[in-house]
């Protein structure tokens, strides 16, 4: 928690003039080597690092999924022991939710929000780097429990008491879960504060809130959900940690604790978390569908308000995860009702996507295939979701494979497919070359088929009564066929991911021989497409003045006297060429990385030896004060003075961190 205050207190160390930073680290001066990546504060590089790390953990979580499916392919599977099976499915869930989807969404948020609102960077560039490094240190910490913690957490991703207690989970796995998620949570909280301020304060002239692209809107709602949901899980995780490491009495029923306390706190966080996962994908879909339908989004304000409504209502439905936990008939009835209501804004979104496509000139490029696939799969998942809003039905379905089927349709079908579409869509903007269309379509169809083969049959299995989280089953219950189908499907998904990686490799190899994609390969609508691909380091040569929603599209197209759409300018005429020089950018820093290294040390210390905490705390403190003493703008950095840009950018910097103002002011004196 301290991390956020200190940067603000920085001015305490107002040494901001030309003092060198403390410690042995000289200030990095930019370049392209590994130092540059470790010290970058560029939102684009940070976004790429989030994306690459997320894909790495996608593979890790995917391997865990394959182990699960291999174990369940046939009755009496022997691949994993029951203990290891518990760890594998727990870590599969935790990895996919916290280490894959959330960071992949963070990758899009980091990379695209500043571009979509016409900003040079986020409001607090160094804080942004800190978020990434803290997140990755938490991710590595969490997974290190396989090696040093006696195995992964084994309590399921929602880690109910008393399973999470020492009696039933004596290894250190749950400790790593509790502390690792806290570390990752700090990262997301800092990121949320940063991005909220960015969206509210860093918009280009004329970019009013209701001219922002839907993706930015949905990401903004997501950041608010993170902002308010993370402290709740933080409380729960602290209580769990105190229970396990310091013998507190929170969740042990034998001594008067109440396991329901955990369940409530977890799901107060957990249900907004569902929307944290899905809303970025909704945003991406809302960018892709209009582009490939050649129409503006249908009902812009409905899209925005339904997103906000989902964000609000997401706070009032959490106990539908607990219908069989004994919360009493009144709670069950109330939460059942609120759960049915939340289907309404979601339905509005689906209707609007369909209406956007209606009558459009549809172009089924790979991003569009993924977007439409995501809408279709999400609809299936949403419908099965409504079936267990009804408490009596849920009583039958809960803790069966029906639930597993439901949330994979929502999270994989709605979330991951949408994010994949986003990767194909923005790939040229990020890396300067397209992904191969043919292989992209192969990827899509294999993934879609594999996905349905894997999770479709789970509906049947669940209704037949197969429990989730059992490590094996006996023959003769009729589970054999559909489990085998699901396992085959899982391997088909794995194949599709390999196809994706092959496509990435192949497209990169072929890129030099293909025509460059140019600023706007898809004839798209929002501001990021008016600058070159890949995005220049300074983003915009000149910050655009925004006059309408879909600003970029309106610069390319107008209406003739018959109100028909006509092209008024070519892309080359209206795009920026990225040639601005001497744009003044925030200087890189190593301190976010150093600070982030202290936190896992504190974590290991809490588990193994408190002296490590002292070491970790000292490192964190040192990094904080060094950070404070390091001016935002490197006085030694070499930057030319292009009047207009410098002025413009100086404005951003001033706003970003107070020291910048002072150093600027002092420079002027």
């Amino acid at each position: 928690m301290a991390i956020i205050e200190e940067p603000l207190a920085l001015t305490s160390g107002e040494a901001a003039t030309a003092e060198r930073p403390l410690g042995g680290l000289t200030r990095p001066q930019g370049g392209n080597g590994w130092r540059d990546w470790l010290s970058t504060v560029d939102h684009k590089k940070i976004g790429i690092m989030y994306g690459v790390s997320a894909m790495f953990f996608f593979v890790v979580g995917g391997i865990e999924a394959l182990l699960i499916r291999w174990q369940l392919a046939a009755p009496e599977g022997q691949l994993l022991s029951a203990e290891v099976y518990n760890q594998v499915f727990t870590m599969h869930g935790v990895t996919m939710v916290f280490l894959f989807i959330m960071p992949l969404a963070a990758a899009f948020a980091n990379y695209l929000i500043p571009l979509q609102i016409g900003a040079r960077d986020v409001a607090f560039p160094r804080l942004n780097a800190l978020s990434f490094w803290i997140w990755i240190s938490g991710a590595i910490f969490l997974n290190s429990s396989w090696i040093v913690g006696g195995g992964g957490a084994d309590c399921g991703w929602f880690c109910y008491s008393p399973n999470s207690g020492l009696a039933f989970s004596p290894s250190h796995g749950v400790d790593f879960y509790a502390i690792g998620l806290q570390i990752a949570g700090i990262a997301s909280l800092l990121g949320a504060v940063n991005l909220i301020v960015t969206v509210l304060n860093m918009r280009a002239p004329g970019m009013s809130l209701f001219r922002m692209p839907i993706l930015t809107w949905m990401l903004l709602v997501t950041q608010f959900l993170l902002l308010f949901a993370l402290p709740v899980i933080t409380v729960a995780l602290f209580l769990l940690m105190f229970d396990r490491l310091f013998d507190a009495q929170f969740f042990n029923p034998a001594t008067g604790g109440d396991p329901l306390l955990w369940q409530h706190l977890f799901w107060i966080f957990g249900h907004p978390e569902v929307y944290i996962i899905i809303l970025p994908s909704f945003g991406i879909i809302s960018e892709i569908i209009p582009t490939f339908s050649r129409k503006p989004i249908f009902g812009y304000s409905f899209m925005v308000f339904s997103g906000i409504a989902i964000g609000f209502m997401g706070w009032g439905v959490w106990a539908h995860h607990m219908f069989v936990s004994g919360i009493g008939p009144f709670s069950v009835a109330a939460f059942s009702l609120s759960t049915m209501f939340i289907a309404v804004p979601t339905g509005v979104k689906i209707l609007n996507w369909l209406a956007t496509m209606w009558g459009g000139k549809l172009l089924f490029s790979t991003p569009m295939l993924f977007a439409v696939g995501a809408v279709a799969m999400f609809t299936i998942g949403g419908l099965s979701g409504v079936t267990h809003a009804l408490a009596p039905a849920d009583t039958q379905q809960t803790d069966t494979y029906y639930i597993v089927a439901h949330f994979h349709y929502v999270i994989f079908g709605g979330g991951v497919l949408g994010l994949m579409g986003g990767l194909y869509f923005w790939w040229p903007k990020i890396f300067g070359h397209m992904l191969n269309e043919t292989w992209g379509k192969v990827h899509f169809w294999i993934m879609l088929i594999g996905f349905n083969l894997t999770f479709g049959p789970m509906h049947v299995l669940g209704l037949q009564g197969m429990s989730r989280r059992i490590d094996t089953y006996s023959p003769g219950f009729g589970f054999e066929l559909w489990n085998m189908v699901a396992t085959i499907g899982a391997f088909i998904i794995a194949l599709s991911v390999l196809v994706f990686f092959y496509n990435v490799w192949r497209s990169r190899r072929d890129a030099p021989n293909l025509p460059a994609p140019g600023p706007d390969p898809w004839d798209a609508r929002s501001l990021e497409w008016m600058i070159p691909s890949p995005t220049p380091e300074h983003n915009f040569d000149e910050v655009p003045v925004v006059e309408s929603e879909d600003e970029w599209w309106h610069r390319k197209y107008g209406y003739d006297e018959n109100k028909r759409v006509v092209r008024i300018a070519t892309i080359e005429e209206v795009a920026q060429d990225g040639s601005a020089e001497g744009v003044h950018l925030p200087a890189p820093s190593f301190w976010p990385l150093v600070l982030a290294l202290g936190l896992p040390l504190i974590g290991y210390g809490l588990i193994f030896n408190l002296w490590l905490c002292v070491l970790g705390g000292a490192l964190t403190g040192l990094a904080l004060y060094s950070w404070a003493l390091e001016p935002v703008d490197d006085p030694d950095a070499d930057h030319g003075h292009d009047d207009h840009h410098d002025d413009d950018d100086g404005g951003d910097d001033d706003a970003a961190e107070p020291e910048a103002v002072t150093s600027g002011a002092e420079g002027g004196e």
Binding site: L200, S208, L209, F210, F224, L227, F228, V232, D258, L260, H264, I268, V304, I308, W315, G316, A319, I327, G328, S331
Partner: protein
Amino acid sequence: MTDTVTETHLEHDEDHGAHEHPSDWVYIKIALILALFTGIEVLTYFESALPFFENNSVTIATLMFLMVVKFYLVATWFMHLRFDNPIFGRMFVAGLVLATAVYCIFLSAFEFWA
């Protein structure tokens, strides 16, 4: 949230320059009021001092009222929400209201008020 910002523009422009911080004496007066209220709060603990505090619900109502007023005074005067751009207050109130609502429902689910 959205209107917030647009409105803010206007309000900010209008009252720009007008929002001087109050003088130290005003702050001291606020602190005196806070001190007085704290005194009353503590008085409820010594039930014998005033007979009507023997009634629990009166005590609770008084305490909650004083707490809210104290909270409000610190937030509006010391934290400058009175004078500042309303967007700050809205961010804070969003968290405050959400927390109050969610945790009241949470406690209700445990039949805390019964």
